[in-house]
């Protein structure tokens, strides 16, 4: 299941010209508001027509302006979750969930998820007889996700589904999307301008800036090398796949272990053995040539310098190989020079435990919930 996209359109002063492919898993379209992400989603869903373009999903052409082919929205079988829930106000939650399923009846080529499974997954069993007007923002959005899933889509688009929700509701829905990524067995395209969401969920990142693709590739590399663009460079950092080893007693911390070594992070309340993906912001990583002593920071990982990436703002992102996992640290050019950092040089990487954002830590893709 691969999605190939190539679109161009002009609307007044705004120009969009993007091409990317989304491999299976979750692909994040990342960029500031107004960069053209939602327009890409509208074109994918069939709700907007580009001036020129091609969209192919799993080999089937959904749009080819040169050949005059455009599959209408209702025949694309692309589920879409918008910023607002957009539930049918005159139908109950149960009828909203059944809506897409009714049009997908008789379709046997993709088993998809059964209603019971979706209702359990999203925790909306108690809402079935309610009307959309009586739902909170988070509840409405969960129903909207369920409704899209139950239409047996081949691809699920999520256009900033958390944008209209407060932090608490976001924290409630993020794990659901994580689980969706692992059980839905269809590709997901997730639009966001929040680095923490992207770091937590994405397998692939497509960075869109001013209507163009600024960078695209596996999430891990994009985040580590600071390819998110100038506005988000400060949030560049490594993604590490780790496992919960233990909750450290009386400290409010959880001990994780992985190839890089061990990390103490704020308490996660996850079972021992759960796979966790950790975003380590490069700005919170210090490098030291000697084993540090008398330092408050809890996390010290030893490794060697892998590569140096000078940034536009005069800083340098230093990639450090720690036992096969790559960390990245943002240093000033002066520090790099002073420490004599060159590829191959052994260093210690130091991270404060409080630097980790618990919202940015999710279950690793494909990890088993224990």
């Amino acid at each position: 299941m691969t999605l190939a996209v190539d679109l161009a359109l002009a609307r007044g002063a705004f120009r969009l010209d993007v091409a990317f492919t989304a491999p299976p898993g979750l692909t994040a379209l990342f960029g500031r508001s107004g960069s053209g992400k939602s327009t890409v989603i509208a074109c994918l869903a069939g709700l907007a027509r580009p001036d020129r373009g091609r969209i192919a999903l799993d080999g089937e052409t959904l749009l080819d302006t040169e050949r005059g082919r455009a599959v209408p929205a209702h025949r694309r079988r692309i589920g879409t979750v918008f910023q607002e829930a957009r539930l049918m106000p005159h139908l109950s939650v149960r009828q909203n969930l059944a809506y897409g399923r009714w049009f997908a009846r008789g379709r046997r080529d993709r088993a998809g998820l059964e209603p019971e499974a979706v209702i359990t997954l999203l925790g909306i069993g108690h809402l079935l007889d309610r009307r959309p007007a009586g739902l909170s923002g988070g509840e409405g959005q969960r129903v909207a996700i369920g409704r899209a899933l139950l239409s047996r889509p081949r691809l699920l688009l999520l256009d900033e589904p958390l944008a209209a929700l407060d932090a608490e509701r976001k924290a409630e829905i993020l794990p659901l999307i994580e689980r969706l990524r692992d059980v839905a067995a269809i590709p997901l395209v997730y639009v966001s301008h929040a680095v923490s969401e992207v770091a937590r969920l994405a397998d692939t990142i497509v960075v869109i800036e001013g209507g163009r693709v600024a960078a695209a590739g596996p999430a891990e590399g994009i985040l580590r090398r600071g390819d998110l663009g100038p506005y988000h460079a400060a949030e560049a950092g490594a993604l590490l796949d780790m496992v919960v080893e233990a909750d450290a007693p009386n400290s409010g911390l959880t001990l994780l272990s992985g190839r890089a070594g061990r990390l103490l992070v704020p308490r996660l309340n996850r079972a021992v053995g759960t796979g966790i993906r950790v975003h380590v912001p490069a700005r919170d990583v210090l490098l030291s040539l000697d084993e540090p002593i008398g330092l408050s920071a809890r996390n010290r990982l030893s490794g060697q310098v892998l590569a140096l990436h000078p940034q536009a703002d005069g800083t340098v992102l230093v990639e450090v190989d720690c036992g096969g996992a790559v960390l990245s640290a943002r240093l000033t050019r002066a520090s790099v020079h002073e420490l004599g950092l060159v590829p191959g040089r052994p260093v210690f990487a130091i991270v404060k435990s409080v630097a980790f954002d618990p919202h940015g830590m999710g279950r690793a893709a494909g990890a088993v919930e224990i």
Binding site: F103, R131, A148
Partner: protein, 237 residues
Amino acid sequence: MSAAILDRLGLSPEEWSAIALSLRVAGVATLASLGPGLAVAWVLARRRFPGRALLDGLVHLPLILPPVVTGYLLLLAFGRRGTFGAVLADLGIVLSFRWTGAALACAVMGFPLMVRAMRLSLEAVDARVEQAAATLGAGPCAVFLTVTLPLALPGVLAGAVLAFAKAMGEFGATITFVSNIPGETQTLPSAIYTLTQVPGGEAGALRLTLVSVAISMAALLVSELLARRVGRRIGAG
């Protein structure tokens, strides 16, 4: 049964026939306008095309023209020698000086009111919900029937009731187009008018006036009740 009611109200058979005819004419006019009215309202609410302003003006014309003028134009077009009338006559359909012609006149006069109410309620339907329905697999027809129409229903009902009320009261265009033939084209307003023109007709005119008021009030009440029920179903419930 009907004889008993007739006795109690003190209505003469002629008066009774005018009431029955008016109800039939207004009912047929309203039902026949529903489809075209909804289609025109949807086009005006949702489509942008050259000639849209012209269509809008054409629909509203009967509202601002003197009814007599509308009736005369209908006579020119649908009379036996009229452009459409001759073609229809060949097919065996005669409108001029028949109750069907009265229904046509009433439908034309009520059309702008019906379209206006329907259009406003269609414009109020959130197009984003319709888009969501399309992404769930609903084609344009299915979107209209399952999302647009149910959400616009209060306005559609209001439009139908307005058209019905207008048809019950239509006088000028009707009398010009189909005249005032008792039992065939003499509707309630025509009958009242006739009664006021003959000596001793005041009592009959008053009786019919009361009936007319009662029918209008009943229509308004029914539409209010329906709208409230629909509103509860759609709304904050």
